[in-house]
């Protein structure tokens, strides 16, 4: 494993082909040949992506069979998920409260403008 496994995880996830590979693996383990099929890519190119994913601890590859089945490694996903989770929770909660503050600001402005109109009408009389 690299010195900072979480950095490797996020670098691995930054590539759309690798995310597509992971989406496929989320359905169940499969072979490199099977994985390569939907992509317009050579087997060596796919193998390179798999190495990055394996290095990041996102997938593991079986040793038991000739075709070395690829599968998702849940531990790294948990870490990455927790990571975004804390950040999201902070901002999600904050933004939910911000919605409330904005509603009050809108109501307040309506009151002010209604008072303004009443004043204008009073002057006209």
């Amino acid at each position: 494993m690299p010195a900072d496994p979480l950095s490797a995880t996020f670098a691995a996830l930054a590539d759309p082909t690798r995310r597509a590979i992971l989406s496929r693996l989320a359905l169940g383990e499969t072979s490199v040949l099977e994985l390569a099929r939907p992509f317009d890519m050579s087997l060596p190119a796919i193998s390179k992506h798999l190495k990055v994913l394996e290095h990041a601890g996102l997938i593991s590859r079986g040793r038991e069979a000739q075709w070395r089945p690829c599968r998702i490694a849940p531990v790294s996903f948990k870490q990455a998920d927790q990571w975004l989770g804390g950040f999201r929770r902070f901002w999600d909660e904050s933004f939910a409260r911000l919605d409330g503050v904005l509603e009050e600001m809108k109501v307040e402005e309506k009151k002010v403008s209604a008072r303004g109109k009443r004043r204008v009408r009073a002057k006209e009389k």
Partner: protein, 163 residues
């Protein structure tokens, strides 16, 4: 990840150095801008149950400083401190920020917030640009809540948020 299904917040990592957050608000942008830059408003919404806001000081002008402090579950205080480098009311805000907690102060990173209004609704996009990938990952890492066990089944959701 958040438990709510209709989470209004989108978090992505558009490059190795960036974190981008997008939020939608049902209000004109002049209100969103005010709510994000006046202490009397900021105090009322910024923070979460685990990290309530303790202090909020804002000097909103180019070169002006701000300081936000948050409490933590084990009593430690986390602060966000920075200097405004661009203040264009009500459409853009840029600042240089550092994040500190006991025993750790981050490198400086740049935050750009843009406020786009359409049909009375505002889209707020905040991009946090770090000087290195390690620093970016460190910031995300700081948000970890070790008490929560997110579901492994959420893998598809996690990948989706990064697209």
């Amino acid at each position: 990840m958040d438990a709510r299904v209709n989470s209004k917040l989108k978090v992505t990592t558009p490059s190795d150095f960036e974190i981008e957050m997008t939020g939608e608000f049902d209000a004109p942008r002049r209100f969103v801008f005010e709510a994000m830059t006046k202490p009397e408003y900021v105090k009322r919404w910024l923070g979460c149950a685990q990290n309530p806001m303790l202090a909020c000081e804002i000097d909103l002008r180019v070169g002006g400083a701000y300081r936000f402090a948050f409490g933590g579950p084990d009593g430690h205080v986390t602060t966000l401190e920075g200097i405004y480098t661009e203040v264009t009311r009500p459409d853009r805000l840029v600042f240089l920020e550092r994040f500190s907690m006991p025993g750790f102060t981050s490198d400086e990173y740049q935050v750009t917030s843009t406020f786009v209004e359409r049909g009375g609704k505002t889209t707020l996009t905040t991009t946090i640009l770090h000087s290195s990938k390690e620093n970016r990952d460190g910031q995300l890492n700081a948000g970890i809540d070790k008490g929560v066990e997110p579901a492994y089944e959420r893998i598809a959701e996690l990948v989706a948020t990064m697209e």
